[in-house]
Symmetry: none
Subunit: 192 residues, 4 copies
Amino acid sequence: MDAILAAAAQVFEAHGYAAGTTNRIAIKAGVSIGTLYQYFSSKEAIAVALLEQHIADTGHRLHEWVGHMVVEQHSLSEALNDYVTDMLEMHSRQPRLQHILLEETPIPERVHQALLESERQAAKTVAGLLRLYPEVRQSGLEHTCFVVVQSVESLTHRFAAHPDDEFIPRATFVNEVVTMLLAYLTCEARHE
Amino acid sequence: MDAILAAAAQVFEAHGYAAGTTNRIAIKAGVSIGTLYQYFSSKEAIAVALLEQHIADTGHRLHEWVGHMVVEQHSLSEALNDYVTDMLEMHSRQPRLQHILLEETPIPERVHQALLESERQAAKTVAGLLRLYPEVRQSGLEHTCFVVVQSVESLTHRFAAHPDDEFIPRATFVNEVVTMLLAYLTCEARHE
Amino acid sequence: MDAILAAAAQVFEAHGYAAGTTNRIAIKAGVSIGTLYQYFSSKEAIAVALLEQHIADTGHRLHEWVGHMVVEQHSLSEALNDYVTDMLEMHSRQPRLQHILLEETPIPERVHQALLESERQAAKTVAGLLRLYPEVRQSGLEHTCFVVVQSVESLTHRFAAHPDDEFIPRATFVNEVVTMLLAYLTCEARHE
Amino acid sequence: MDAILAAAAQVFEAHGYAAGTTNRIAIKAGVSIGTLYQYFSSKEAIAVALLEQHIADTGHRLHEWVGHMVVEQHSLSEALNDYVTDMLEMHSRQPRLQHILLEETPIPERVHQALLESERQAAKTVAGLLRLYPEVRQSGLEHTCFVVVQSVESLTHRFAAHPDDEFIPRATFVNEVVTMLLAYLTCEARHE
DNA sequence: GATGAATGAGACTTCATTCAT
DNA sequence: TATGAATGAAGTCTCATTCAT
């Protein structure tokens, strides 16, 4: 039941995994606790379903973004700005949820593998797009894109979870991150 | 009692915040549960103390690193490599602890402010060091350094917590991050 | 519905009374839980119906055995051997069911009385048969037969439920029980 | 805590295993539910402890009886009467408990083996006593005693659980059982 | 009649915290 | 000051039963 998952997302977001009780989820979803357990075999199963949904969701967003960029022929700078802004907005909507699912939930190995795979996939997808930009350094692009994806993921999450608007406004933050990525993608390769 | 905090760090690291019971902490610390409660008024108080210790610790490490760099006159690239390696090593030793303290603990506002302040301080400290390097772009250096600090923090944590060695080995990862920071710090300013 | 009772017998046998859920019974019977409740007002009602069926069944078996013995003119020893073997085989097929019905189900008084009555009846029936054997001591035959019936019931159940084949093989066990009953039925009366 | 075991015995006796809730046990024992779980790791552990206590208890009773008989030089008939009376009295005090522990509790294999062993031991102990009586048939005495022990166990339990005083008074019942055992123990061996 | 999704009381169990010793 | 047995609120999950379709 989607209502249960939606309720669970809100409850986990608000209370964390441990304090996000199945009863609270059921109440928020407007169903009885018994009904909840007819659709999900355990609390963990709910978290896993949520995580899988999140993984799929992130994949879709990324593909949409890539498609959009290809069609619109935005500049590299615009493309990155779009990407960072989109991710920051998404994490701001539910700043805690993703990390709760990733860090507080006992994830089955299967799902853990799916998660790693989806991150590799994301790196490849982004690489596919960036290959179209001539100013982007092509050597080692997949590793570079992996770091790009990780950077965007973790920086936007961090800022969304603990914003420090007084010190650095949101727009400035996005701008800085884009600058960093741009510099990274267009610099000469460094040899250790 | 430092023994209690040390025990708590290990227990939280191993079991998470919710499953890290006060009894387990007391046993690991070699004291009775009663004694534990004579030094800390609640489980939350332990986590907060741990977080404050962590904040102070991180500050010290940063200062030491800066001092070391100033004395040794390392190149910018070497300096960044040092920094990233150090942080990655630290997060690898206790991949979960920092995020447990940051995300699973109900932090009092006072500590939250201290945390933000320490991050601003870190940005300033790093800026102080980097100002010594002529190749570093000086405009907006504090904001830039804030993003640098955040990037190192979050990327090393992420890689330590969920390494994907098959896809990208640790050394390569460090190298890529350094490359990114180097490019970021030395690039021309971008205007939106 | 006989299908429900048959399913209930299997489910109780396999899981016990408490863990023998009405849903499992319904599934095994190939009907929905709603249908089950249209034929039986409660879980307890199913157990009671099963017990009543068991009581009737046991009565029939006994009568058949008696009829058979009368016709075939078996020796007393053969007759007892038949009886014990038959009961042991029956209890081996469903070692738990009878005791579940007797001990784990809250039996209504009416059924409890029917149960006692059926055991008295059984004693009388057996007495009716044994009276035909001249070697059987006739004094106090009904009480004696009551003990005979109880012995066979409880000993065969016990052996079926917790066999100790290593210590005493099944055939030996049957033989010993028959020997005991034979001795009991043909001995001189004892006066206290 | 012995109070908990005593309370558990009463609660199981009164409600059965499934309905004998840990809360009821705790209340009856006059402790909180938390205390109960400090002494027993689970509901099953309580039942197992109770069963082990019962096994030990039965062994002691048997030994005491044997010692008593040897010293007092009672006749075989008196000895058996003592035995049956004692067991009937014991089962009458808690008619359901033993079978609840035996049939409704998920017993670990270790305890199951201990149970079988204790029954073999009982047969041997009884055989040791009966060997002293010249009128007792000596051939196959251990198997015979096994059946004797099983008979007394199961008949007294059955009568205690579902007495039918109207049909056969308790004294008469004991008398009949003793008569049966006496006949069994002193009869000529039967050959199939 | 048949269905089965929904219900919710109540079971077992955990663990932060207290307090008499 | 140190101890640790005792507490009990609160959590996850089960299952007999109902009732709208």
